[in-house]
């Protein structure tokens, strides 16, 4: 672990730093300081809980990157429903049948000391490229509330509906983004009401492609339409132009000019270069095979192409999800090999294209699953929601591979070492991407809202993932 801070002190931090800790820094500032210093773990605990000094109101946070960003794009693979950690990336071969169920062996990887569950032979060959956080925790077992936590790092049930991490990226990255494709893309279906734009408004909504990239033609909703040939597209665009009588009468209208500009951008996607990004037939068949000829594999390939096109934030919502209350082991046998194939190939392919250093890939569910198998009816060998401890995988964009952060206990039931909370994971992703976690988000009523919550809002922190941030 190298010394911090890695970020220019914000004016507010400087004020705080000139005062002695524990007296004049309120909890909000404490967390912010914590996020940017090695003292993070100390600051964010109870040390400052009694501090009552009035908050020195921070100067308006500046949304400019406080340091050179390593990561240019982020691919989030959301294993919604909650993937079991003990069967996959945190195996406990000694925990016995009631915990391990069908999958009793762990396999070695290309990094000494790191083992994976037996269904991940491909990822085992790539362990030098990613880090596993085996001490993720938030102790929340509801899908929506846990998903909200993992997507925003804010506590669910507050009065404000915070934007998801993708919408925050869209907000901060849009000004400098020149691409044709919207800055926040979801492959393929949007997932849940808490994964969206919150109070940032419809412009920060994700663009969800719909359709299936593994189909003969990836019919991206609104971009590639079924049954309408290019000839017909061109003909009817021309017809529309001729029939737009009001547009002709009001050529000087600034409203119509703005609408026309947006329409041009849409046509750049429909008929121009934009849609080519989604045309997976432009890839070699052999490469497509290696990603796997299934929806998830081709999602990963589409994600790599979106990264090449400069899209800042891409979410793959895992097709079908991982909510395996019952029929757990057969589902794992079916889905894990696809996850293994697609994700391992994505990491390899990003590296082959020289994109891994500038692309963060993070992969986890909203929680894990109960490490003790529920053998009783109606589960009959299932696993239920489990937020006490689970595993996240992070790679690229400044995260160092070949490491394990934290650990769970011998039965993967509780954090044993180095808890990592949602605020730590998202804070690290923001930091590597040059987004100031203290930056203020625009709220329609002018309410005080920041990218990450302050300690006063009850958000627990174990500190940034400095041990794997290169």
């Amino acid at each position: 672990m190298s010394p911090q801070p890695r970020i220019h002190p914000h004016p507010a931090y400087s004020i705080g730093l000139n005062l002695s800790l524990g007296h004049s820094i309120n909890r909000r500032d404490a967390l912010r300081l914590g996020l940017f210093s090695t003292a993070g773990m100390l600051c964010s605990s109870n040390l400052l809980a009694e501090s009552t000094a009035p908050p020195p109101e921070p100067a308006p946070a500046i949304p400019t990157p406080p340091r050179a960003a390593k990561a240019k794009s982020v691919i989030q693979i959301f294993l919604w429903g909650g993937m079991s950690h003990i069967d996959t990336w945190d195996p406990k071969p000694d925990a016995g049948y009631d915990y391990m169920g069908d999958f009793r062996t762990a396999i070695p990887t290309n990094v000494d000391g790191i083992q994976l569950g037996e269904l991940f032979p491909n990822l085992a060959k790539q362990a030098d490229k990613y880090a596993l956080i085996r001490s993720m925790t938030h102790r929340n077992n509801g899908h929506e509330t846990a998903a909200y936590l993992m997507q925003t790092a804010h506590a669910p049930g507050e009065r404000l509906a915070y934007p998801s991490v993708g919408a925050v990226f869209a907000h901060f990255k849009s000004p400098g983004y020149k691409g044709l494709i919207p800055p926040y893309v979801v492959l393929t279906q949007p997932q849940g009401r808490f994964c969206e734009e919150g109070f940032l408004g419809p412009k920060m909504k994700p663009f969800a492609t719909g359709s299936d990239p593994n189909a003969t033609r990836f019919e991206v909703e609104g971009i590639v339409s079924r049954g309408i040939s290019d000839t017909r597209q061109v003909a009817r665009r021309e017809l529309l132009r001729k029939m737009d009588t009001l547009g002709a009468a009001m050529a000087a209208s600034p409203q119509l000019a703005a609408a026309e500009e947006a329409k041009q951008q849409a046509y750049e996607l429909i008929l121009g270069q934009g849609r080519d990004v989604f045309d997976l037939t432009k890839e070699k068949p052999d490469l497509r095979d290696r990603y796997g000829r299934h929806t998830f594999g081709q999602d990963c390939l589409a994600a790599r192409r979106l990264v090449e096109a400069g899209v800042p934030y891409i979410v793959i919502n895992y097709p079908g999800g991982w909510d395996t209350h019952s029929n757990h082991f057969p589902t794992m046998r079916r889905q894990c090999p696809q996850l293994d194939q697609g994700l391992a190939m994505l990491l390899q392919d990003l590296q082959d294209h020289g994109l891994l250093d500038t692309t963060i890939v993070w992969c986890c569910g909203e929680f894990g699953r109960g490490p003790k198998v529920d053998w009783q009816p109606p589960w009959n060998g299932g696993r239920n929601h489990y937020g006490n401890v689970f595993t996240a995988l992070v790679a690229g964009g400044g995260f160092q591979g070949g490491h394990v952060v934290g650990s769970s206990d011998k039965r993967a039931e509780e954090v044993q070492d180095r808890p990592v909370y949602p605020v730590d994971l998202l804070g690290s992703i923001y930091a590597l991407s040059g987004i100031d976690p203290n930056a203020r988000l625009p709220h329609p009523m002018g309410s005080e809202a920041h990218v990450l919550p302050a300690a006063a809002e009850g958000a627990k922190s174990g500190g940034l993932l400095t041990e794997i941030m290169g």
Binding site: R159, L160, A161, K178, P182, R193, F199, G201, P202, K203, K205, F207, E221, G222, I223, S225, R226, I228, S229, T231, R232, Q233, V234, A235, R236, E238, L239, L240, R241, K242, M243, D244, T245, L246, G247, A248, A249, M250, A251, A252, S253, Q255, L256, A257, A258, A259, E260, E261, A262, K263, Q264, Q265, A266, Y267, L269, I270, P444, M445, G446, S447
Partner: protein
Amino acid sequence: MNIACLISLLAAMAAFNAAAQTDATAEPASSVFENPLPPAPVVPIDRLVAANLVPLGIQPLLCTDAVFVRRVYLDVIGTLPSAQEARNFILDADAANKRRVLIDRLLERDEFADLWALRWGDVLRIKAEFPVNLWPNAAQAYHRWLRSAIAANMPYDQFTRELLTSSGSNFRVGPVNFYRAIQNRKPDGLATAVALTFMGTRTETWPAERLAGMAVFFSQLGYKPTSEWKEEHVFWDPLGTSTTPGNTVPGRAEITPGTPPPRSPAPEAAREPVASHPQFATFPDGQKIELAPDRDPRQVFAEWLTRPNNPWFARNLANRLWAWLVGRGVIHEPDDIRPDNPPSNPALLAYLEQELVASHYDLKHLYRLILNSQTYQFSSVPHFPSPAAAANFASYPLRRLDAEVLIDAINKITGASDLYTSAIPEPFTYIPENQPAIALPDGSITSPFLALFGRSARATGMLNERDNKPVPAQWLHLLNSSSIQRKLEQSAKLKTILDPSHPPATIIEELYLTILSRFPSPAEVQTIEAYGPQKPSKPAPAAKPGQAAKPPAPVGVKRREDWQDIAWALLNSSEFLYLH
């Protein structure tokens, strides 16, 4: 966007504009939209507006009947006129009276109450969940009260008093939800919402002591739960009883099973609170009063607010209604009334206020005054593109149809319907099929279309929460989504219109009346006749872009998909998408 991209875009737009102008053929396109004869002002509104326009050298023109029928339907009932309604109005020979008669008819339609409950629903923040958390049952009760008040043309002062002073259950007494649909329920938060809603002002622009003085009126409000899940009583609570833990509305022993209810509120806790000593509140005009211990201070405030000479009350409403109908407030933005944001035409605003007060707050009187004025009926073709012209209502401003109105119009044309759902699994949010979006009672009941096209989030009650600015994703949806394409392809209603046994001229006329609420011009008929395969009866693969421009083209037999393209083009025209 980088410079190169911008330049190429500008070039493309210039080419587009040039092409559009040359395509406008023989007659000026504007003749479809405006009468060439300048009107002479008749009613007071028009004289007051003219008083500001004449010095600017502006002589506005009136819109045609075809523009008017569409505009007034969409503005007053949020609903597209049917082809027959549009045809009847345009052909009606009673030029002197027909606009007035139509206005009177529309003000009595059911959709009038739907649309205006939608507009007020944004202001009053009717939403089951996030961030105001009314809960579905309460949102429905709130909306039911609102819609009935609008349908009955409840005088606006009474409307305001009911919202400000009601007490009772959120499930049974709709207007109490006014105080629940506020994120910050502390007295200053309540005062802020009251000021925004009924005074049209933002308290952030106030001196702090003014807000503090007004907040006192709302410091005795209590909320307490009942035995019913999510039911809550809102009431005058001078003794602060609702702050006593476990104190619920009578009729239920306890809230949480196992928690013994206190037999009576602890004396200390109940006696100490807010009203135990004289309290002073200050009206926003600076007048200070001592609150009587036996009177709900909300009533005292409402009495002050609804006095005829209150400087904010009538002004806020007159300005809001003007802005909703004419597209821009006399004070702009309409919910930002403050001394350094003066009205563009003070005499006009004063006149509207007077009329409102003199009619005993009869809202429909104000609707009639505004809608029958020439100013409302000005053409939207901007001959004078200066900020001063816009601020003085020289033309009717273009506005994209609101999300709900737009999807209703698309569904009306195609006979389709959308699915509206709420994320909250409650039986109160069952939505019947074919329910128009303007009649949705609850902001949590939604669809991807409504979200994409910027419906209000109903978080703050500010008008700018509704976002009608164009973004490319909206165009992707309109131009090329499977949803719109499916509506066009599967529409039984369009199929009837496009019946190949009808002569093309009939089909074109019916399409125009259905989608744009007007008859097509000869140039437009020509453009359409030239679209599609050109050889009679023989299906060609597709039209080539250059081909359509050659006049006069022999009339070919159009395939169904050619007609669908024509309907598609009308649906994507700015004339359809914009109020004009």
